[in-house]
């Protein structure tokens, strides 16, 4: 094999006395796609931050293109040819694609920016990548996938020899993922070294050459992707095997009553006459592609957005839901995929978050009954197995899985009987995923009804008692789990309405 373009050896780092990295080794060849995997908090991000000069290492060496290097800041790393494409896009939404790609190094003519040259260069770059983005298009108006492509174009235009992708597919649709993979493989063909960080096992298997797995700040090992199985990788990540079997048959009793009934619900262009029933103790999987209207349906049921029409019945009684307040009062809880934005007060402690939806129950006269709040929080920390030093911990300091459990705790405290989980395991690492799954099963067994939106077909098949599929705002299928297959679901998810061209 050829010589590595990048070697990191013996890297150690501690934050305020807490070990983040311990003697980590990582190398990258020219023209290689090297996956970096590990649960959240395993040390992947810290390692990449050290590589790109965001933070300093305590010990260890970095050899890049044969020379030992230390980058003091990301700009130095970029100048040397190491760039990172972040999970959260760093695009300036009001500028054009070309302006974003060349920001900070605009081609000049005298004292003025040479817009023509900039647009020409951007156009050439996009062509090289095989993406048809108009250089003059305002970035905020592009799809997330295309914004990501701009970000990649920007990385390439700096003549980088190492590109780090941090969960690049998290926000992309399937076809955008295909385009991205084509681009990444093309970059590999041109001898660029690629670090690929992702939680998605099938992607790792598909496009990477080697996998390095990290756990608890240490390097567990490096495997050749072609010679290992998903289970090998998962076992290395969590140190145990995680069960992955699809559910074979519905676990809902045949006589379970209908808890939630949605009738001809309409809200905007993405919720068009959606009807379905959710039974007591059932997990109804809601599948579909990006933009199918699944989240919009959930938000309309919950009153987060005002529906245009339709009926929602809870336990057979018609409910006028015009705001989340009405929905919560009717016993519905919504767990958004974006927990930090829509689910949590990240700067408040666990206790304050858990009681937020049911504060009335924690009063003593006019005053908040703080010790009762703390007691409730401790109870959930124990039963949901939330890993935290105490109930006073600020929520932002917890991992994604533990944050999700706190949102669950909030609705359990409120005694909500119907829970809408929107992408319950997005951004949650493999080990915690299994715990969330077990928790959802347990909730269903206790008689709660769960509507689970998920883009992950394995998750849908593994969790659901019944699968409902949406496409372009319409319900296109309802499949009992006994008959559900990935193919059937994908077929329904792409069942577009025939449109007349006017």
């Amino acid at each position: 094999m050829n010589k590595p373009i990048l070697t990191m050896d013996g890297i150690s780092k501690a934050f305020a006395g807490v070990r983040a990295l311990q003697d980590v080794r990582f190398d990258l060849m020219r023209g290689e796609i090297h996956a970096l995997m590990g649960e959240n908090g395993a040390g992947k991000s810290t390692l990449m931050k050290i590589l790109t000069g965001v933070c300093a290492r305590d010990a260890g060496t970095i050899t890049f293109e044969g020379r030992p290097v230390t980058f003091k800041n990301p700009r130095e790393a970029q100048a040397a040819g190491i760039v990172i494409v972040h999970q959260e896009l760093n695009m300036l939404n009001h500028l054009t694609a070309a302006q974003n790609v060349f920001i900070g190094r605009e081609p000049m003519r005298g004292k003025m920016i040479d817009d023509d040259k900039m647009n020409r260069d951007a156009h050439a770059l996009f062509q090289k990548l095989g993406i048809g983005i108009d250089p003059k298009a305002v970035v905020g108006g592009l799809t997330v996938g295309r914004q990501q492509m701009c970000e990649i174009a920007k990385a390439i235009s700096t003549e980088a020899s190492v590109i780090i992708f941090d969960e690049p597919t998290a926000a992309l649709t399937d076809s955008e993922i295909e385009d991205l993979f084509k681009t990444i493989l093309d970059l590999r063909g041109r001898g660029i070294g690629i670090v690929y960080i992702s939680h998605r096992m099938d992607e790792i298997k598909r496009i990477t050459d080697r996998v390095t797995v990290m756990r608890d700040g240490a390097c567990v090992g490096t495997l050749t992707t072609a010679h290992c199985t998903k289970d090998d990788i998962v076992r290395m990540m969590v140190g145990r095997t995680v069960y992955e079997d699809p559910k074979s048959r519905s676990e809902v009793p045949a006589d379970a009553p209908v808890a939630l009934s949605v009738r001809r619900l309409r809200a905007g262009p993405l919720v068009r006459d959606v009807s379905f029933d959710l039974r007591r103790g059932e997990i109804l999987g809601l599948s579909g592609l990006m933009g199918a209207g699944r989240t919009e349906t959930a938000r309309a049921i919950f009153g987060a957005d005002r529906p245009d029409g339709g009926e929602v019945l809870v336990n057979g009684r018609l409910c006028r839901i015009r705001s989340p307040r009405d929905a919560v009062a009717a016993g519905i809880g919504y767990l958004s995929e974006d927990r930090k934005r829509y689910g949590l007060l990240v700067e408040k402690d666990i206790a304050a978050n858990i009681t937020l939806a049911s504060l009335r129950d924690f009063m003593r006269g006019l005053s908040l009954h703080r010790s009762k709040e703390e007691e409730e929080a401790r109870r959930h920390i124990e039963t949901l197995r939330i890993k935290t030093p105490s109930e006073h911990q600020e929520v932002r300091k917890l991992s994604g899985g533990n944050q999700q459990k706190i949102v669950v705790g909030k609705w359990l405290t409120r005694d909500s009987q119907i829970l809408i989980f929107d992408e319950p395991t997005r951004g949650i690492d493999v080990g915690a995923k299994a715990e969330i799954y077990a928790l959802m099963h347990e909730l269903a067994r206790q008689g709660k009804s769960i509507l689970m939106i998920s883009s992950d077909l394995t998750e849908i098949l593994r969790m659901s008692d019944r699968v409902m599929v949406m496409c372009e705002g319409r319900k296109t299928a309802e499949i009992p789990i006994e008959e559900a297959t990935q193919e059937k679901i994908m077929h329904a998810a792409t069942l577009r309405e025939a449109r007349r061209v006017s």
Binding site: F15, A16, F302, A304, S323, P324, R325, A327, V328, A329, Y334, S336, R341, Y342, G343, L344, L345, V346, E347, K348, A352, L356, A357, L359, R360, M363, L366, S367, L368, R370, S371, K372, E374, E375, H392, K410, R414
Partner: protein
């Protein structure tokens, strides 16, 4: 309740947390206040005198009330630019009611507070229901109230009854003077200020409205999606600010007697400055009434103390600017350390 045991431990942890929350920044602020006071005592002749102490308090009542009220709004992540002019407008209107219409003084004072609350409600309605940016909505109210004061009084100034006049009793709310009392008077207003601050601190930290206001300042959408009526509670924060502007109007009238139409601009910034120096975050979700009071007193000590060391009062603005920037910088540093 599961018995005394858990109760007493929770009390312990509460007080522990209280101390923790009171935190470094607030200790720094208290320290700064003490150092400032001692500095002026040492450097200025007679600064340590009782009369000076009372005049420091006198000049802090109205800004204190404005600042307590505006703290609630700032905690929601909003801003109230109108409280200064609302204060002056309320004072002018209630003074006019008294002199022109013969409304009894006690009713004028109550109406004064009520009018403040009404202006606050208008602000809250514009922000929470009409979704106007708080900056713009309260800027509008600031202009409206400033103009309204001039319209109602036909641009004439209003002088409230003197201490010994028939209806001058209300001045006793803020300062008792008379035979047998110290010549500087007894600062009863200080007791009132502390009492109301304690009540508002209780409301903020220990009641449902307070918790909701903190929550919606921290993350409004997450709070709404938890089934909380965020519109109601956000309006309430502005109403609190308005009511306290009304109270501030009474304090202002009883200390300074003469109210000029067209003034009031800039007082809101004093109130906001006190709030921010006291550690309330302009991005919302975090704040404390005790901190706000300390911030207000720092400004009062500066204003009263500077002439004692031979500097004109307008140097107060000059130095307050530095204090403000330093206080916020300390907060920024603190956050950065916690995050790092």
């Amino acid at each position: 309740m599961s018995g005394n045991g858990s109760h007493s431990t929770s009390l312990l942890s509460n007080s522990g947390k209280l101390f923790h929350n009171f935190g470094k920044q607030r200790l720094v602020a208290i320290g700064a206040l003490g150092v400032l006071y001692l500095f002026f005592c040492a450097a200025g002749d007679n600064f340590a005198a009782y009369n000076t102490f009372v005049s420091i308090l006198d000049s802090s009542y109205y800004i204190g009330f404005l600042a307590i009220g505006v703290t609630f709004v700032v905690i929601t992540g909003g801003i109230d630019l109108s409280c200064g002019t609302v204060m002056v407008c309320c004072a002018l209107i209630s003074g006019t009611l008294y002199f022109k219409l013969g409304v009894p003084m006690w009713l004028c004072l109550l109406l004064c507070i009520a009018m403040g609350g009404l202006f606050g409600f208008c602000n809250g309605f514009m922000v929470a229901v009409m979704k106007l940016p708080a900056f713009i909505a309260t800027l509008g109210t600031m202009m409206v109230t400033r103009g309204l004061g001039s319209i109602v009084t036909a641009t004439a100034s209003v002088t409230f009854p003197q201490r010994h006049a028939d209806d001058g009793w209300f001045r006793g709310i803020f300062k008792l003077m008379g035979d047998g009392l110290p010549s500087g008077g007894v600062p009863t207003g200080f007791v009132l200020l502390i009492l109301l601050a304690a009540v508002m601190a209780f409301i903020l930290n220990k009641t449902r409205p307070g918790r909701y206001i903190l929550a919606l300042g921290s993350n409004k959408e997450a709070t709404r999606l938890s089934g909380v009526d965020v519109v109601k509670w956000e309006i309430l924060a502005y109403v609190v600010s308005g009511l306290f502007a009304g109270l501030a109007a009474i304090a202002y009238a009883s200390i300074y007697s003469t109210i000029l139409p067209g003034t009031g601009n800039g007082f809101e910034l004093d109130g906001i400055a006190g709030t921010v120096i006291g550690g309330t975050s302009l991005s919302g979700g975090v704040g404390s009434i005790a901190g706000t009071l300390i911030g207000v007193f720092i400004m009062s000590v500066l204003r009263t103390g500077l002439p004692f060391v031979g500097l004109q009062p307008h140097y107060q603005l000059f130095f307050t600017g530095f204090v403000l920037a330093a206080a916020v910088f300390a907060d920024v540093l603190n956050r950065r350390r916690r995050k790092g």
